[in-house]
Subunit: 406 residues, 2 copies
């Protein structure tokens, strides 16, 4: 096994060059199929070709660079689109680490191949993982027809045509080509930093279960309606949310997270008793049994609330399956981390969704996290120390070397 000497300066220069497409403050605003995003995909394909890969942009916008040689293959990737006014690393880190490893190995003429992918639209400007789902065969033409821009409603088909991608074939997984898929990513949390660690080996990507809770009461005058006769939808929502906050710690696992991110009162006027309230509530865990238990608890609390003066109903918005990472790939990442940063790594779940959860459905997959300064994510101030970026790439390169040599 030979670990290629990756070029830290070149990796960082590429990351900064990619940030130039849609630069915003110290981050980037590069929504999928915006002008900046399309330009960045062409730039990436050119970089892949310069690095010795056979590159294409496929019919859904995936940028895929394939190693040309014989021998075993690994797939490395992530995504280069961003959330609005978001950070410069996020998915870009994993794509450009993959590129750096592939071209370092190419330059060193090492055996085996690394393919590199930037999956289209991980940030869901248009849909639910269209790029990686297309690659694994989980997105049909009707699914593409149904996708539209979450911000302005434009159909995905129109954007693909404008980008010159309409009618192009979509890349799909060649069965048996890969020993596995590896994705590097920023942690997006503060845990590694808080513990003084440098690397996270992802054990599983959480399942995300999300619900709309609708409370219907009776809108009325806040001055003339006695307390005893009110059916205050806002108050019923408050009481339910407070009950969830009291109950969930007993039902949760040690790493469960739950969030009430949206709560709205209607009409929302100071002198009007709310006639309606709507909430969006979600929880995440890697254990399906925990998710089931939490949903059961939530249903009980909603039923109790519905017995009060207002009508309360629960609508399921989504329930994704927790996706364990492959134990062998994770072990390879852990061994590489231990060699390069002894004692400064840990196993941990990913609380956010990633393309790896799609790839893991069809091949062994694993993920490596690097620390996020202050835990900031999906904000232009997102950052990771240069040394941590480089260390992450070196660990990934070492694991790749192990896996291709095995």
């Amino acid at each position: 096994m030979t670990i290629p000497p990756i070029n830290p300066g070149r990796l960082l220069a590429d990351l900064h060059a990619l940030r130039g497409f849609g630069a915003y403050e110290s981050g980037a605003h590069r929504l999928t199929f915006s002008r900046e995003d399309i330009d960045s995909r062409r730039w990436l394909a050119d970089r892949m070709r310069e690095g010795g890969l056979l590159a294409e942009i496929d019919g859904i916008g995936n940028v895929i660079g394939r190693g040309p040689g014989p021998g075993p293959h690994l797939l490395l990737g992530s995504h280069t689109d961003t959330q609005p006014h978001a950070g410069w690393l996020d998915g870009a880190l994993g794509v450009l680490c993959g590129l750096e490893i592939a071209r370092s190995r190419h330059e060193a003429d090492l055996p085996g191949n690394v393919d590199v992918a930037s999956w289209a639209d991980e940030e869901e400007t248009w849909g639910d993982f269209p790029g990686s789902r297309s690659f694994i065969g989980d997105l049909d033409e009707a699914g593409i027809d149904a996708m539209a821009n979450r911000y302005d409603g434009r159909p995905l088909r129109a954007a693909l045509a404008a980008a010159g991608l309409a009618g192009r074939p979509r890349a799909s997984l060649q069965p048996g080509r890969y020993r596995g898929y590896l994705e590097a990513h920023i942690e997006q949390g503060e845990e590694l930093e808080a513990k003084g660690l440098k690397l996270g080996i992802v054990t599983a990507i959480v399942g995300l279960w999300q619900y709309r809770i609708v409370v219907e009461g009776v809108q009325n005058h806040a001055g003339t309606t006695r307390m005893a006769v009110r059916r205050d939808a806002g108050l019923a929502a408050i009481k339910l949310a407070a009950a969830i906050d009291r109950r969930f710690p007993d039902l949760a696992g040690p790493r469960t997270v739950w969030t009430l991110g949206r709560l709205e009162f209607f009409p929302g006027a100071p002198s009007v008793i709310p006639g309606r309230a709507e909430m969006v509530f979600q929880f995440r865990d890697t254990d399906p049994a925990v998710l089931e238990r939490l949903e059961g608890g939530l249903r009980e609390l909603v039923a109790e609330a519905d017995d009060g003066p207002c009508k309360v109903r629960l609508e399921t918005m989504g329930r994704t399956t927790p996706q364990p990472m492959d134990a062998s790939l994770a072990a390879a990442l852990e061994q590489a981390a231990e060699r390069l940063a002894p004692g400064r790594h840990q196993r941990m779940p990913s609380g956010a969704g990633h393309d790896a959860q799609q790839l893991a459905r069809v091949m062994p997959a694993a993920m490596l996290f690097v620390p996020s300064i202050g835990g900031i994510s999906h904000h232009w101030a997102e950052n990771t120390a240069d040394a941590d970026i480089v260390l992450g790439c070196q660990v990934l390169a070492a694991a790749v070397a192990d896996l291709l040599a095995a």
Copy 2:
């Protein structure tokens, strides 16, 4: 004492004619100084003149009709502007009952005079009781300069000019002219209907104390931020609102009402821990000591919340003084109610604000409520049975007769 035979058909016809200005469903949309509102003021001034009054529209939009004869005077009134898409009665009832009583007495050539007023903008399209406050001398030119449309921001001065009122003198109270002010109004609640009563004699208009509560936490990713390190502004707001709900019943008086009408999370996205939450909270009571006690309790709860993971601060938006009604005028209304509807009336506070609270600062004032069907108010479906409207006007006419004869 002679009670004039008011003309029920004429009263109801006038109410329906007034509804025609801005008719919306079975209600009316007649915002102050809209085209419909200005037309309705001219129509009202014409009706006053036909009824034997000397009518003017003054420089703030008040429509005032004065009885021309000698002898004691009473002032009757309310307002003819509406909330958006609101009911046909609300303030219109009190104005047109005043008009009907004044012209019935004029036709019967009874001694004494009834002046009638429609105070401009009780519904606060432009400001805080500009019409009645102008009349009692509590609104200076700078105050008018500062007022603007709450919906579109247009300055009040521009609207007055467009209505042809710029430069007109503003009517003001002639000291000693009136024995008192009487205002009829719909209850806007369901209490009279629920108790099978027909008339409410208002004992006091509540003070309304209103606050903005701002909670500041740390916005972060809902998947990658562990529960233990969160500073969730939404959750802190929920807990504070639930604590208010638990604490306030012990602090409140028997008729206190309190309402959280507005609660907003920022940014309000399902997968983002709210970094900021804002609430508008209000309470109302007729007893200043109760209001003080409630504010004290609120301040304690906010301070406790501020000791948690988020910063919580309380901003006072407004604190109006409870306004007791005049005991002699209220007794006159009560005696008239007992004569015409024995046992079917009660004393009660007004939970809503009315022009009477401004007039009460400078002369004896009292109010009479008629039932609201289903307690509906500030909605086009607002209504009162014709018979209840007529009974209210007859009771008011009887009280007027007593007071002018005294």
